[in-house]
């Protein structure tokens, strides 16, 4: 007995000693910011495998040539001025022989100048050599760089001097000046690695083999330490040209379990939780109620569009009246108010109200069960037996409703929707699947029969080609490519999608966008639910964090973050 008690005392002693000697949990030092995120970036190479986690970290270490800012306006970050037709720095031109373009068959020459003070962390100036190398690596078919299409559309680059170059694109689109995905690579480090074996470049890039090399970065911070899967430590970059950031050191800690993320925040192990990859909205709402006195919570609705895709090959859903009835039957305002405390605005189409092309007079579907019943009756689903509607052939109005299993908020919303439809006699059967099966097979290969609920990410003024164009319907013949999972086919929609990208006149484009949204709202290929909001949990002393609501991370402006009264 004595030994047993001794063992217990020793165990308790170890715990107590660990605590008492350590004192209070070490809050981050005044010059350090510790950020918690729920995902670790896969690779740190700027042009491989895009991910939100990578964008969050990389945005502190570099600046894109162009980007959409917090007002969703295109701005220069690494360049000095956006090319424009009016200023003569964007010049439409005939395409050289052998270059196949699009639209009217003309291309455009775009002149960019890199900021004169832009310098890699080891002192090497960011120059047109880097631009040429980035283009070379990007065009190589086996180098593993993503978005090959972007690099192929650039059919030539003329170097004017160390900082100025002219990029020749093979088509003129309205966003001709945007080269957001043309992420400059450091030629003085990467070119030798690439030239030695282009096909193996993806495995040997210094961004992954030697990620703490100073010369890989030119933002306000550079990466000084990495523990894969756990944390990335960044310190001030001495060669940064802009406003000095407030923190000497930023540590980004990956904690996948959001409950643990919250506990780490409360214990002082981290200072803030990123909105891009952090708590879910319901967790943030509960957190704010309990700890709103200690933290600021910013809810930023963005371009994550939660919706329900409808299988238009299903004869029931092929009838537009049924699709419209499904939307009229939903009280989305009540869902937003009761579940999300009004933080997730109702979606009326796939275009965000924050986007300038949004059409405010588009047809809307307020909660109107009487109208829904009228439409269902008109569609032949008029016989009500045992609370379920039947058609003249005696078939029940029954639909299968799927989403990702284990996603608490989605499953909660799903139950509410199911009950609202049931009140109208629509028998909706829930069958959820793990995300990997749901996305990898059921949605990707169009194996669902009724309704599937998930979200789409987008960017400002992004024509919905992949989700709405009839050429983008996944099928075995095209290797299941495309994301038009509903099977939506509309000739006018196809024409609009193709024409919008090539229309330079803003007013004309706006009209086209309005028409596109009218078709969407009338045809209801999918049921728009709401715009998801990202909750940013910030300490009271941290000011200046401005979420964008689109793909650009808030960390792109980290030099504007300030400390007040810490």
């Amino acid at each position: 007995m004595r030994h047993f008690i001794l063992t217990l005392i020793l165990a308790a002693g170890l715990l107590a000693t660990a605590g008492s000697l350590a004192g209070p949990s070490p809050a981050a030092a005044a010059e350090e910011l510790r950020i918690g995120i729920s995902q670790y970036p896969t690779t740190l190479h700027p042009s491989r495998e895009p991910s939100v986690a990578k964008s969050y970290v990389a945005s502190m270490t570099r600046r894109p040539m162009t980007v959409y800012d917090q007002q969703w306006e295109l701005i220069c970050m690494l360049c000095t001025e956006l090319p424009s037709i009016e200023a003569g720095t964007a010049v439409p031109e005939d395409l050289p022989e052998g270059v196949e373009g699009a639209g009217d068959g003309r291309g455009i020459a775009l002149t960019y100048t890199i900021r004169p003070d832009a310098t890699w962390g080891d002192g090497t100036p960011v120059s047109t050599k880097d631009v040429l190398f980035t283009w070379k690596a990007g065009r190589h078919p086996t180098a593993g760089i993503g978005n090959l299409e972007l690099f192929r559309r650039i059919h030539a680059i003329d170097v004017i001097d160390n900082k100025t170059f002219v990029m020749h694109a093979d088509r003129i689109s309205f966003e001709y000046a945007a080269i957001n995905d043309f992420r400059i690579l450091p030629a003085h480090i990467e070119e030798a690695v690439f030239d030695a074996a282009p096909e193996d470049y993806r495995n040997r890039t210094a961004f992954d083999t030697d990620p703490t090399k100073r010369g890989l970065y030119y933002g306000p911070y550079r990466i000084t330490e990495i523990v894969p899967g756990s944390r990335v430590v960044l310190e001030r970059n001495d060669t940064w040209w802009g406003k000095p950031p407030a923190f000497d050191r930023v540590t980004v800690l990956t904690i996948e379990k959001t409950t643990a993320l919250e506990a780490n925040l409360l214990s002082g192990s981290i200072d803030m939780i990123s909105g891009e990859l952090g708590l879910t909205l319901d967790q943030a709402l509960a957190f704010e109620k309990r700890h709103g006195d200690r933290f600021n919570v910013i809810y930023k609705p963005g371009l994550l569009y939660e919706h329900i895709d409808l299988m238009l090959d299903n004869p029931i859903l092929a009838d537009k009246r049924v699709r419209q009835a499904l939307v009229y039957a939903l009280d989305r305002e009540a869902i937003n108010e009761r579940l999300f405390e009004g933080h997730q605005p109702i979606a009326h189409t796939s275009i965000s109200p924050l986007d300038w092309v949004y059409y405010k007079d588009v047809k809307k579907y307020p909660y109107d069960p009487a109208k829904a019943a009228e439409l269902l009756n008109a569609a032949g689903w008029s016989q009500l037996r045992g609370g379920i509607r039947y058609n003249a052939a005696g078939e029940p109005l029954q639909l299968e409703f799927m989403t990702t299993a284990g996603s608490r908020v989605r499953e909660l919303v799903q139950q509410v929707l199911q009950s609202q439809w049931k009140q109208l006699g629509i028998d909706v059967r829930v069958r959820n699947e793990p995300p990997r099966v749901f996305f990898g097979q059921t949605v990707h290969e169009r194996r669902f029969t009724g309704l599937v609920m998930f979200a789409w990410g987008s960017s400002p003024e992004n024509a919905p080609r992949s989700t709405m164009h009839s050429e983008e319907i996944p099928a075995e013949e095209n290797g299941w490519s495309g994301q038009n999972y509903t099977g939506f086919k509309n000739a006018e929609m196809d024409e609009l999608i193709e024409a919008i990208n090539l229309e330079l006149n803003r007013a004309n484009r706006e009209q086209m966008w309005h028409r596109l949204q009218e078709i969407y709202a009338e045809e209801v290929p999918a049921i728009p639910l709401y715009w998801r909001a990202n909750p940013y949990i910030l300490p009271k002393w941290l000011k200046g964090v401005r979420p964008t609501g689109q793909q650009a991370s808030s960390t792109l402006w980290i030099e504007d973050w300030t400390v007040e009264g810490r």
């Binding site: 350590a22 209070p24 949990s25 978005n147 523990v227 899967g229 996948e256 506990a263 990997r436 990898g440």
Partner: protein, 315 residues
């Protein structure tokens, strides 16, 4: 003994070979591939681009062909690259294997240090208040869900008292800090393990205490302590060793939930992330390492039997 060892090692190698094929096929048969994951991250990826990347990563090849290519490389010591971390597979797995061995090893030792004496003590005083108390603790440990216990520990020791970090790992530069990060996950795992071992030890010891040789030893005038240490403990360990050998596999495959909640970089979380993220190489090698250690632990357990009971011998 040598021929027995050779036979067991050959069998283990064959099991590993079969397991590698099974695991590869199972991962390959799961819906979706790495490119699908990229498409969902980047809705603007064109079909041509997706097809190009599938060719680039060899995903357009039949699965058996991909397995044979992997096996050929693996036999030369090349286990490929991790898709999730873009690092050589072993560079990712080996440090995490070390972390898991530290975490699981410490909790395993601590659990044994508590469970063996507690089990024996309870067995020597069945139905006594102390026996009831030990049983109560054991059942509490067995029935407490690990995720709930972990959260409870974090709330108490990290959030309320502020004594220990809520999660993560030390940076390896400060031993004391590294130790502080280990306390809560080790404690959570120990509490989850200790109950089961106490129950096994208690049951085995009660059974042994009923044996004639125990009565004989007591009749010869040996003290209770001498009988327990010299006769009961050794004989009661045989069934317990079987259970411990099975748990040894966990030493290397990790504890997923505990690792996730404490953001501890161990094998459980790594293998889980690899399976979910289509990181074939890491998932495969990680699972094979777990299989290998389970096989070796069982071999060691068999050898321990003959040490504990000289009547058992292997030819």
């Amino acid at each position: 003994m040598l021929s027995y060892l050779t036979r067991r090692l050959t069998e283990s190698f064959l099991v590993l070979a079969v397991m590698s094929l099974l695991i590869y096929l199972l991962i390959g048969l799961m819906p979706g591939d790495p490119i699908d994951i990229m498409i969902f991250s980047d809705p603007e990826m064109t079909p041509a681009e997706a097809a190009r990347l599938r060719v680039l990563y060899g995903l357009d090849q039949p699965i058996l062909q991909r397995y044979l290519a992997w096996l050929g490389n693996a036999l030369t010591g090349d286990f490929g690259y991790s898709r999730l971390y873009n690092q050589p597979t072993l560079d990712i797995l080996l440090p995490r294997l070390g972390n898991t061995v530290i975490l699981m090893g410490l909790s395993f030792i601590l659990a044994l240090a508590i469970a063996l004496p507690a089990g024996i003590y309870a067995a020597t005083r069945p139905q006594s208040p102390v026996d009831h108390a030990i049983n109560l603790v054991a059942f509490a440990g067995i029935s407490m869900p690990p995720f709930w216990l972990a959260i409870l520990l974090i709330i108490l020791f990290a959030v309320t008292l502020g004594w220990l970090p809520a999660g993560g790992m030390g940076d390896g530069r400060d031993g004391w800090d590294d130790l502080r990060h280990l306390v809560l996950p080790v404690l959570a795992l120990t509490i989850a393990t200790v109950g089961g071992v106490i129950r096994f030890m208690r049951a085995a010891a009660i059974e042994t205490l009923r044996q004639d040789y125990v009565r004989t030893a007591l009749a010869k005038g040996l003290s209770g302590r001498q009988v327990v240490i010299g006769h009961v403990l050794r004989n009661a360990m045989i069934p317990v060793v079987t259970i411990l050998a099975l748990q040894m596999g966990n030493l290397f495959s990790g504890a997923l939930i505990t690792e996730q909640i404490f953001a501890y970089l161990g094998m459980g979380k790594t293998i889980y992330d690899a399976v979910i993220g289509n990181d074939y190489n890491v998932a495969l090698v990680g699972l094979l390492l777990a299989t290998l250690t389970t096989l070796l632990a069982n071999l060691l357990a068999d050898l321990a039997y003959s040490w504990l009971d000289p009547r058992i011998s292997y030819q």
